[in-house]
């Protein structure tokens, strides 16, 4: 398996073989990110394509100062954000700071039956405005302040969207778990 540094150097020289190697190696994990941020498969594919074009054209800016996969993931997430902003589906939601965070009790709930595919399916059922905030906050680790700048909403809206997203997700996780248990137990 060629070293990633060699593949990057090859890509910088315009080697089509290395470009394809890089794509084949990282496309599956990045496509999962695209699915997480998109409404449908077609949109996910568009994000992946645009993201990879940016990755290849900006490869010279990668200075090996951090994880290459992390750098690519940020590009993909930014591409998804651009797409999201361009659709202009945002609308103001009242600030709700005090909605309690939903918690799942590991003693009472067993989520071991849910695989990554189920979780992805659940997350994609969220309305885009909730999904976007949940992804950025819970999965990417951005703060509400950063999210508010990224998708042009107030911090309060970011918090309320996150709270609603969590609530919806918890219900769906429970529902999925219940259905799965029923199916498995007959």
């Amino acid at each position: 398996m060629p070293e990633i540094r060699n593949i990057i150097n090859g890509c910088l020289k315009g080697s089509r073989r290395d470009q394809e190697l890089l794509y084949r190696r990282y496309a599956p994990s990045l496509y999962a990110v695209c699915l997480q941020y998109s409404d449908n498969d077609e949109e996910a594919r568009d994000i992946l394509q645009e993201g990879f074009i940016k990755i290849f054209t900006n490869l010279s800016h990668f200075k090996y100062e951090g994880s290459f996969e992390g750098w690519m993931r940020r590009i993909i997430v930014n591409t998804a954000l651009e797409k999201y902003r361009s659709r202009n589906r945002l609308y103001m939601v009242e600030d709700i700071d005090m909605i309690p965070e939903p918690f799942v009790d590991p003693d009472n709930e067993d989520y071991s039956g849910l695989d990554a595919g189920d979780l992805m399916e659940i997350i994609r059922m969220l309305p885009p405005k909730y999904r976007m905030v949940f992804n950025l906050f819970a999965l990417e680790g951005y703060s509400h302040r950063e999210i508010s700048r990224m998708i042009n909403i107030s911090e309060g809206t970011s918090k309320s969207n996150l709270a609603r997203a969590r609530m919806i997700l918890q219900r769906r996780v429970e529902a999925y778990t219940g259905i799965k248990k029923k199916v498995l137990n007959g």
Binding site: R16, E20, Y31, V104, Y111, L139, V173
Partner: protein, 443 residues
């Protein structure tokens, strides 16, 4: 907040951490041309930069060569003290410079020497105290170079000037006043010249028709590594014109993206024939001659013609070994050129305009897939013209070393007059650009 409880965030964060999904196959097919299109300006910029560097080097070499040709300035000595040198003869530009405040009688005055040709134009400077003489033409005579002038006293002779009691020129009488052309010294060796030249070559083509399918074929075809080289023999017809011929070998290829090849097909080949697959290209039709190969068009562009369609054979259920995701066509030609070289500038560094025609004979034609640095033979391209003609235009630079050797650098553009394919519908016209370099021997 109860720490024993698990945040829903963690359920998703951990659950999706290493999640991977294979993207649809067409995604890469859409990314690839976009990368190519974005890289093209970079290639153009690089080509422009290379051309600029080449021209700069050529210009510097030219400047250097003119200095090498006439390096010495004639030094006038013996002037009375306090009067700086009044005559400076520089290469290509003879100047008589009268220093300020030099009285008129001390300035250069010469008599006409009617039996010697050659003229020198004397141009007064902005002020009368500056005098510049520009040679129009010089010639060597037994007595030196004579410059009839058109200023002040009509004509003058440098010989007389040299003999005047005002200035002395070292050995002016002993040696004729002559500017040797260093470049000529090497060129009088003979009329023949043999050269060995080699060049990396960039081949591409354009399509003059409007068939959408052919246009799509072209976008999937990318030029591969190409080179050309051989021996050339030139004969100097006149001082400026040479006729050149020779024998060149050139190899070029192209890559067909999205034609994936697999090995291990032989057990499933019920037809037991060799031409199981045909692939349409702008160069002609590729036919497989290896019964072990299975080809698949992953771009779904219907470029493959086969009896083993999806209805009859499912490659995913067969035990096939992936080889490569593109096919490579390779062609080799013997070239017989007839080139005219016209010398634009003749110095230590010569500049030549090169133009002519070549006949190209196809001597090798193969199609393969790359595997672990080696080649997996697939077949050959059929419908290729065995003989093609090309025109070429270029600029030759030749640096003459002392003796009979010279170094050559020749950027050459070549356009193929007839398409490579015999199929009339494929009006694809190849052209190429190469920078030939090598050495020449004159005899």
């Amino acid at each position: 907040m109860d720490e024993t409880r698990t945040n829903i965030d963690l359920v998703f964060r951990n659950g999706l951490k290493n999640y991977e999904v294979l993207p649809p196959p067409e995604a890469w097919n859409n990314i690839r041309p976009a990368i190519r299109a974005r890289q093209r300006p970079l290639i153009i910029l690089r080509a422009a930069a290379s051309a600029a560097v080449l021209l700069s080097v050529a210009f510097l070499a030219y400047r250097l060569s003119t200095r090498i040709t006439m390096p010495e300035q004639t030094v006038i000595s013996g002037l009375p003290e306090g009067i700086p040198p009044a005559l400076v003869i520089a290469p290509g530009e003879v100047q008589v410079v009268a220093e300020k405040n030099v009285p008129p009688e001390r300035q250069i005055i010469a008599e006409a020497d009617s039996d010697v040709p050659g003229e020198m134009e004397v141009i007064p400077g902005a002020a009368d105290d500056n005098l510049i003489i520009q040679p129009v033409e010089t010639s060597q005579t037994a007595s030196g170079v004579v410059f009839p002038a058109r200023h002040g006293r009509k004509d003058f002779s440098l010989r007389e000037l040299f003999r005047s009691d005002r200035v002395e020129i070292a050995a002016a009488d002993a040696e004729p006043f002559y500017f040797p052309d260093a470049s000529e010294s090497g060129k009088k060796t003979g009329k023949w010249r043999i050269s060995a030249l080699v060049s990396p070559t960039y081949y591409t083509s354009f399509y003059s028709g409007n068939d959408e399918f052919v246009s799509r074929l072209m976008t999937d075809e990318q030029p591969g590594f190409s080179y050309s080289g051989g021996l050339a023999l030139a004969y100097r017809v006149s001082k400026r014109v040479s006729v050149q011929s020779g024998l060149y070998f050139s190899s070029f290829g192209q890559e067909l993206a999205g034609i994936t090849s697999f090995a291990g097909f032989q057990p499933y080949d019920y037809a037991k024939g060799n031409r199981n697959f045909g692939v349409m290209t702008t160069r002609g039709m590729i036919y497989t001659n290896n019964s072990d190969v299975f080809l698949l068009d992953t771009r779904n562009e219907n470029r493959i013609v086969t009896r083993y369609t999806k209805d009859y054979f499912d490659p995913s259920k067969a035990n096939l070994v992936y080889v490569d995701n593109s096919l490579r066509q390779n062609f080799s030609y013997l070239e017989l050129p007839l080139i005219i070289r016209y010398k634009l500038l003749g110095r230590a560094l010569d500049f030549n305009l090169i133009g002519g025609l070549s006949s190209n004979i196809l001597i090798n034609n193969s199609v393969y897939a790359a595997i672990d640095g080696g080649r997996y033979q697939v077949g050959r391209t059929e419908g290729m013209s065995m003989l093609t003609f090309s025109s070429s235009l270029g600029m030759g630079m030749e640096y003459n070393f002392p003796g009979n050797l010279s170094l050559n650098l020749e950027p050459v553009f070549r356009y193929y007059l007839n398409p490579f394919s015999q199929t009339p519908a494929l009006k694809v016209h190849p052209y190429s650009f190469g920078i030939f370099s090598g050495i020449s021997y004159r005899f």
